[in-house]
């Protein structure tokens, strides 16, 4: 049965699809196997949901308002459930659940180009031509995903994203990218499934020859990715992607119209809902992308009418839902983009790229929430004197801490260079208490 191991097909559920073997697996066996899996999954449910604001959000208009400054813009701050913490008036629902969230207001990250900023924020490392650092989702896949043997779908799912790379951790830890409808393209037909066995037998035979011919690690990676793909496409856990389907064995229900409405009928809201289902199923890292933040012009109209209402609805629904399900302490939330935006308002009533002083939002995960950590100066143009400046590595080290990944973990690049987890960042003291 070596083949089945190599292609991740040592699971009994798969035999159900095998015309040749169907009779040998009693249906009861199959079901109890799934229930056992569900229990196993529940016991180990630490996860992180990253809300990625592609384009760079104007945090000065969302989390760190400056009503007294010429840079302050059009919005007013409002109080939140967290004493002393104010956020934008266009985030009223989020304000109500802010006891479970926190802001880090003294991010200072230096990279103000989209690609470089994204790379830096997601990997904690500055781009370097000789090595590709893993995005943090890939680190979680590597550290936690591998241990979740009952997980049959990828351990790092990106909804509407796709920029992150696994780098030296290997292709099998790359994000699995889906769109917010959860539709997986090129799912196999039943006929195709029934033919997989002989096909994969032959495939393994052919691939072995090439792998054995000294062509480096890529051919091996190809095999691993195929194993993951076969695993995925034959798994009942696929239900997690589709909010309209249920899988009682996994505790997944069809999501009601009320729930879907609560998250917001927009890509971000539906993406967050899918993220919750994936986390329920045991996926340890889900990234949900919301684009359209590159607001060089017309920033206030865009925020007021589109961005913030969706953001507000989505975040508040997610926090409420996770809390109601008793999952919030296990699921760490991170909200960030590649950088913030210029405090100064430009001639097109927009804000440009700004990395020197901006905010990241975190929450859940058993952290000490309800805080605003650090501060910017009165015009928002720099981190306030005496306030500690934070780097992306500090945010990810906090996530690692919350998820139980040892913060002093060191990986090794292909070249043998030691690479500290989160670039050696330190968990943010105020959050871990």
């Amino acid at each position: 049965m070596a083949i089945w191991n190599n292609y991740g097909m040592n699971r009994r559920h798969f035999l159900q699809h095998m015309a040749t073997a169907a009779a040998t697996v009693p249906a009861m066996n199959f079901l109890s196997h799934l229930q056992a899996n569900a229990a196993q999954v529940k016991a180990a449910q630490k996860a992180c949901i990253l809300m990625w604001m592609g384009g760079g959000p104007p945090t000065i208009d969302i989390w760190d308002l400056k009503p007294e400054s010429k840079n302050g813009g059009e919005f007013k701050p409002i109080d939140t459930a967290a004493p002393g913490v104010q956020i934008s008036e266009h985030m009223p629902e989020t304000a109500k659940v802010f006891g479970d969230l926190s802001i880090i207001r003294s991010m200072s990250t230096r990279e103000a180009d989209h690609n470089r900023g994204r790379y830096y924020m997601q990997t904690s490392y500055v781009p370097n031509p000789t090595v590709i650092h893993p995005t943090f989702g890939s680190v979680v896949s590597y550290e936690i995903g591998r241990k979740r043997t009952a997980l049959q779908i990828p351990a790092f799912v990106s909804i509407d994203g796709g920029a992150g790379q696994a780098g030296f951790l290997g292709m099998s830890h790359a994000p699995f990218v889906v769109d917010n409808t959860g539709r997986i393209r090129n799912e196999p037909s039943d006929d195709a499934k029934s033919r997989l066995r002989p096909r994969l037998t032959m495939l393994e035979e052919i691939e072995k020859g090439f792998m054995g011919s000294g062509r480096g690690e890529l051919p091996e990676a190809h095999k691993d990715v195929y194993a993951n793909a076969v695993n995925l496409m034959t798994s009942p856990q696929m239900t997690a992607f589709n909010v309209e389907r249920s899988e009682p064995g996994l505790g997944l229900e069809e999501e009601s119209a009320a729930v879907r409405d609560a998250y917001g009928r927009n890509p971000f809201g539906q993406g967050l809902l899918m993220a919750r289902r994936l986390v329920q199923t045991g996926v340890p890292f889900v990234e949900v992308n919301m684009g359209g933040w590159d607001l060089h012009a017309g920033v206030f109209d865009a925020l007021r009418t589109q961005r913030l209402p969706q953001l507000d609805k989505g975040i508040s629904a997610l926090v409420t839902d996770l809390k109601a399900r008793g999952m919030l302490d296990d699921v760490t939330l991170v909200w960030m983009g590649e950088f913030g935006r210029t405090p100064r308002i430009n001639q097109d009533v927009g804000r440009d790229h700004w990395a020197a002083s901006w905010s990241v939002m975190m929450g859940g995960g058993g952290l000490k929430n309800g805080q605003a950590i650090g501060a910017t100066d009165k015009d928002g143009t720099s981190v306030a004197e005496g306030s500690k400046q934070y780097l992306p590595g500090d945010v990810w080290a906090t996530v690692a801490y919350a998820m139980g990944i040892p913060v002093n973990t060191v990986h090794t690049s292909k070249r043998g260079r030691p690479m500290a987890l989160a670039n050696g960042g330190t968990p943010i003291q105020e959050l871990i208490g």
């Binding site: 040749t20 592609g54 384009g55 760079g56 103000a112 180009d113 989209h114 690609n115 470089r116 031509p129 000789t130 090595v131 509407d160 994203g161 796709g162 920029a163 030296f168 292709m171 790359a174 699995f176 393209r185 090129n186 799912e187 037909s189 195709a192 997989l196 002989p198 096909r199 032959m202 495939l203 035979e205 052919i206 691939e207 020859g209 090439f210 792998m211 011919s213 062509r215 480096g216 890529l218 051919p219 190809h222 095999k223 990715v225 195929y226 793909a229 076969v230 995925l232 496409m233 684009g291 359209g292 933040w293 590159d294 060089h296 012009a297 100064r344 790229h353 690049s413 292909k414 070249r415």
Partner: protein, 632 residues
């Protein structure tokens, strides 16, 4: 002499067995190359070299034949074909003169010194080989063995034509006994219409991405490149047309590059960044806000360069849809915008600064009557401090990486003092020759394809495992690095392997449209001012699912009448011949004896008991294999 070595490459050892002769050959090649550093000894070495290899390459007649240029020049027999080239008769005359000089130099032993002044045919290839070998010696490694014909033909088809060879093409090349067949193949591939298709795809993607930017005509951009590469227009003329383009996006397709960079009103910032990155090999986008952290570009230079693009505007035309009586999008066009004087930008400190139109220290008149883009077009082809213009170096670096997977800098579009080239002499020499040839793209590709490095196997050799750029090492080009097929290469290769372009599917034109639609499933747009995108066609699960289950794969392994499998399996011939055809069609090589036995066993023991189904599964497995999906 280079000719001799180049031709030795084409006299490939057959698949097996590897005899003593090959080892001798390898040794003699190494020895020769050590001695080669002394120019005066060239001819003598050449003679002795020829003698040691006479068993393979049959004597003196062969030597004379070799005097015909094999690289860096247009062979005489192809000059008729390239007459449509725009690179000009001057360049051709120069080439012919060089060829003559080369023949003379080779014939006359005493003219060795002179030959170094009048570059001999192939001298550029020779220099490249020598420099690359020097890197191996310095790092104390031996190169991998030469690639077999099977390995090499697949590679050169994918790199030059963007697709694998057909069954017939692979078979006839391997059977061909002409010692010059590799060089001849490169020449003929450059005249193949698929070369034009491939370059058009690559450069259209470079210029406007793979997605669908707003108000950009992909057919327009493609048409522009198709004509440019078909006529082998000088690269500098192509770039000038792109930079200075004005007019409708369907009539002057070159303007689509500019339109793709005008997705948001941004004072030409994106256009500045994309132009420098793509055509000059410089990454300056971050200098719009601050001085570059590593290179000498400063914030003022970004804005100086930017000021060349302030005379650009676009008009998005609308028209009435007679059916719905609504206004809908019509064409877009790039138009002149009246602009003079400096541009203003803000320093991080908040201070406002001015910048005047200036490129690499050369300023142009800032008056509104100056056509700044036309002035820029003149400046970018001028030599700078005795160095080859950046547009030549940038194109050479990119094109080299198209063939080797790695350029001389990393990334290929980030050149400059902060990012020293791995092989500076090679980059400088090819760029210089590229400029001297009148920016002749085909000549450049011919040169690259005739280098020794391009003929090495992708198998890691005995002691060159350290040559591993994927781990971050500097590439030494001592073996061919594996490249993942680009989505378009994979699509076209599946079409070729399964003969779909012949079986009444409407030819390549229709395939192109289908390919475009198919491609969209892999595009992820990032929705920012840089118009960034990525694809999920990157060796991950979505690609694997597509390969295993998609309609495209179903079609490729179809057993319907007219399909490749149907035709192959219904041809007269024994089972082994059919298995071999499937292997050659998919992998451009025959199965080994061991593989053949395993396949026979598989076919006979297939659970369906149906041979046709069994063959179909075999072909499916071949097309899904790592060996298929990598360029090696």
């Amino acid at each position: 002499m280079v000719s001799a070595r180049a031709d030795i490459r084409t006299t490939q050892p057959k698949h097996e067995p590897q005899g003593q002769m090959d080892i001798d050959l390898e040794r003699s090649v190494t020895t020769i190359w050590r001695r080669m550093s002394r120019m005066t000894a060239r001819i003598l070495n050449y003679r002795s070299f020829a003698l040691t290899t006479s068993g393979l390459a049959c004597g003196l007649g062969f030597i004379l034949q070799l005097a015909v240029p094999v690289s860096g020049l247009m062979p005489v027999e192809f000059s008729g074909v390239v007459q449509a080239d725009e690179v000009g008769s001057a360049a051709k005359a120069k080439a012919a003169a060089k060829a003559k000089a080369a023949i003379k130099a080779t014939d006359d032993k005493s003219s060795g010194e002179q030959a170094s002044e009048t570059p001999a045919a192939g001298s550029l290839v020779e220099l490249i080989d020598q420099q690359i070998r020097q890197g191996w010696e310095e790092n104390e490694i031996q190169p991998s063995e030469m690639a077999s014909d099977e390995e090499w033909i697949r590679r050169v088809y994918l790199d030059v034509l963007g697709r694998i060879p057909t069954l017939e093409e692979a078979k006839s090349f391997v059977a061909d006994e002409d010692p010059r067949k590799r060089t001849a193949l490169v020449d003929s591939l450059l005249e193949n219409e698929d070369y034009v298709r491939n370059m058009t795809t690559i450069w259209t993607n470079n210029c406007i991405g793979r997605g669908q930017p707003d108000r950009v005509s992909r057919p327009g951009m493609e048409k522009f490149f198709r004509e440019a590469f078909a006529k082998n227009r000088p690269w500098k003329d192509i770039v000038v047309d792109i930079i200075t383009g004005e007019g409708r996006y369907d009539e002057n397709g070159a303007v689509n590059f500019i339109l793709a960079q005008m997705q948001m009103p941004d004072d030409g910032v994106q256009l500045t960044a994309a132009t420098t990155r793509l055509f000059l090999g410089l990454q300056v986008q971050c200098t719009q806000c601050h001085d570059h952290p590593f290179n000498k570009w400063q914030q003022n230079q970004f804005w100086e360069f930017n000021s060349f693009f302030r005379q650009v505007d676009k008009i998005d035309h609308r028209k009435l849809d007679p059916q719905t009586q609504r206004m809908v999008d019509d064409y877009s066009e790039v138009v002149w915008r009246n602009f003079g004087g400096p541009v203003y930008y803000e320093k991080r400190s908040g201070l406002m600064q001015v910048a005047f139109p200036k490129y690499m220290g050369r300023e142009v008149d800032q008056g509104p009557e100056t056509d700044r883009r036309k002035e820029l077009a003149k400046l970018i082809v001028e030599p700078m401090d005795g160095e080859t213009p950046m547009i030549a170096q940038a194109f050479v670096n990119r094109t080299w990486s198209q063939f080797f997977g790695y350029g001389f800098t990393r990334p290929v579009d980030d050149m400059g003092p902060h990012s020293p080239a791995s092989h500076p002499e090679v980059l400088a020499a090819i760029s210089k020759e590229f400029e001297a040839s009148g920016y002749n793209v085909k000549e450049l590709i011919r040169t690259i394809c005739n280098t020794e490095a391009y003929h090495l196997s992708s198998r890691v050799g005995k002691d060159n495992a350290i040559d591993n750029p994927s781990a971050g090492e500097t590439p030494l080009f001592s073996r061919m690095y594996l490249k993942s097929m680009q989505a378009e290469q994979l699509y076209d290769s599946l079409i070729v392997a399964s003969n779909a372009h012949k079986a009444g599917q409407g030819g390549w034109g229709a395939q192109e449209d289908q390919r475009r639609v198919w491609m969209q499933q892999f595009i992820v747009a990032f929705d920012n001012d840089e118009n960034d995108e990525s694809t999920t066609f990157n060796g991950t699960i979505p690609q694997a699912l597509m390969m295993m289950n998609s309609p495209l794969m179903d079609k490729a392994v179809s057993i319907d009448r007219g399909s490749f499998l149907f035709e192959t399996l219904n041809r007269p011939g024994n089972e082994n011949a059919k298995i071999i055809d499937l292997y050659v069609a998919a992998l451009s090589r025959q199965p080994t004896r061991g593989e053949l036995q395993k396949v026979q066993k598989f076919l006979n023991g297939h659970p369906s008991g149906n041979k046709l189904i069994a063959y179909q599964d075999l072909f499916w497995a071949l097309l899904n294999s790592n060996e298929f999906v990598f360029v090696h």
